[in-house]
Amino acid sequence: MHFNLADQYHHRESIVHGLNPRVKVLGVVLYIFAVGLLPEGEWLGFLLYFLFLIISYQLSGLEFFFVLRRSLIALPFLLAAFAIPFTTPGDEWMKLPIIGWTITETGAIRFASIVIRAWLAVQAAVVLISTTRIPDLFWSLSALGMPSILVSTINFMYRYLFVLADEVLRMLRARSARSPRLPHKPKPPVLWEGRVAGSMVGSLFIRSIERSERVYSAMLSRGFDGRVLVKRKFKMKQTDWIIMVAVIAFVFMSQGLIHLR
């Protein structure tokens, strides 16, 4: 199954690709935290943080439009913020022509700020996922203190994600082959269709349970004793320290400048 993943960017070579994944994860989390701390309507601050992203694109050789496309995933959630421009008290800024709802100035600023913060955060996450191999990413999670048993579970999930997704794709194809929508025929009742979908989920569950049993016996036959070993490990190199310090310095200085001004 084709997921819109970023694997095709993993094999490039750049400073960002070569960084210790732990540094990248920490840097991205710190960046998102810092974006969250930017006050509303601090346009210069937002611009500064956007420039920081642009520099990271340059350093990692990512195309802006690729990141832009990936960063649209958070868009549907904007509906949750839809009411802000209308409900925040403040001076009237403009009135919507037909429905006559009033947009306040503070409301518009708050809405724009939330959208920008969310957008910057998603872009940072896209840079992380596009420049880091997935096993390295999971390694960094355990290096940063996530319980190793959870990291192994996530690792397994990632490994079988595509197998089960293919399974689903085949089931969906089989369903549409056997119950096509014919013109001039009445629609089957929604409950019935829902039950069919549920049966598919149920049989997928049985297949998954059976698969997990096969996987476990295969692991046992190869000497699994409860520990999951990782071959690739990372040490902190000079560049890692430099970038780490640079990101921390950027975040602290920018936040200091913005909040003390």
């Binding site: 935290f33 969250g36 996530i154 829902g194 598919m200 476990y216 999951v228």
Partner: protein, 319 residues
């Protein structure tokens, strides 16, 4: 191929930093306990088992069915996982799903992930499971008790999770509670029906093919404290919705209404979308929403019992 379905994956930027940190503080001990429980129950089999089942939940979320007007019903999966494997194992599975969705697909934020785990992992697992065992105990050994429990549990899990999400958004000052709570509740009361139908379909197939899987789900750890946990969750949500913090930010509608612009809006279009929620005698929208959800839950409760009984009969081809 990957599409985000539910308005429950909060992206970064929508919660204030303080609230996001509180979410992580809550998640860490819950997760540690969940891991200990599943480890004791499953042993070294845990990693491949939970990993593959997490991949199953992720893949099953892509199975949908058309409802009406281009919308489709689909699965979140927390309640189904809890029914089949117990609430603690379901929590671990949902954590894996949420981490993968946030890291690989940017669906849901990284810094706000604590709350996403609580909403879609902990709350769905425990409310789904508690409602399921409650109905099962109520109906005893009658045929269809599994299905009724699955229907009610799946519906309730999605609705409670959406209430929690709305309250977090309100505490962050993103959306005023009086809008967020009724809006989220009304959307997810419908989404919950899709979740319930799929869950019932899955459970009814498993009852026929592998009934022992359902029995083993009931033996899994987590049964003892499930009622208390869910009671606690509901109480916290209710208190939070009423607390002054939720309306502390100056977004109260009165302030805007004083200027006139929003007054008409408040009386006309927005609230007419949710007429069911505005009980005439109750001024506070939070209380009104909770009441409406309570009444809705009772209705769905009755429907689930009817559905369970009906679906337990041998099924035929639709006419």
């Amino acid at each position: 191929m990957y599409v985000s379905f539910l308005a429950l994956h909060i992206p970064d930027g929508f919660l204030s930093t303080e609230i996001a940190i509180v979410g992580w503080i809550l998640v860490v001990p819950i997760l540690a306990y969940a891991l200990r429980q599943t480890k004791r129950h499953l042993g070294e089999r845990q990693v491949p088992f939970l990993g593959v089942i997490a991949a199953f939940i992720f893949a099953a979320q892509a199975i949908n069915f058309p409802v009406a007007a281009g919308t489709s019903g689909h699965l979140l999966g927390g309640a189904l996982a809890a029914i089949l494997l117990g609430p603690w194992a379901a929590t671990v599975i949902m954590v894996a799903v949420i981490v993968i969705q946030a890291l690989l697909f940017q669906d849901g934020g990284l810094v706000v992930m604590g709350w996403n785990i609580i909403n879609m992992g902990v709350i769905t697992s425990f409310t789904g499971y508690a409602a399921y065992i409650f109905i099962k105990r109520l109906m005893g050994n009658r045929s269809g008790s599994h299905l009724s429990g699955a229907f009610f549990g799946a519906w309730l899990s999605v609705v409670v999770a959406s209430l929690a999400t709305a309250i977090q958004l309100a505490f962050s000052g993103t959306v005023p509670l009086r809008l967020a709570l009724p809006a989220m509740a009304s959307v997810h009361i419908l989404i919950g029906v899709g979740e319930a139908i799929i869950t019932v379909g899955a459970v009814s197939l498993l009852l026929v093919l592998r009934p022992e899987l359902l029995t083993s789900g009931e033996m899994a750890p987590g049964k003892k404290g499930a009622y208390f946990t869910v009671g606690g969750i509901l109480l916290v949500l209710f208190v939070a919705a009423l607390s002054p913090f939720a309306s502390m930010n100056p977004d109260g509608l009165e302030a805007v209404a004083a200027q006139g612009g929003f007054l008409q809006l408040g009386e006309n279009p927005v609230y007419e979308i949710f007429p069911d929620y505005v009980f005439p005698l109750i001024q506070n929208e939070a209380v009104a929403t909770f009441l409406a959800v309570g009444v809705g839950a009772m209705i769905v409760f009755v429907i689930s019992i009817l559905i369970g009984r009906r679906a337990a009969r041998p099924q035929g081809v639709p006419k």
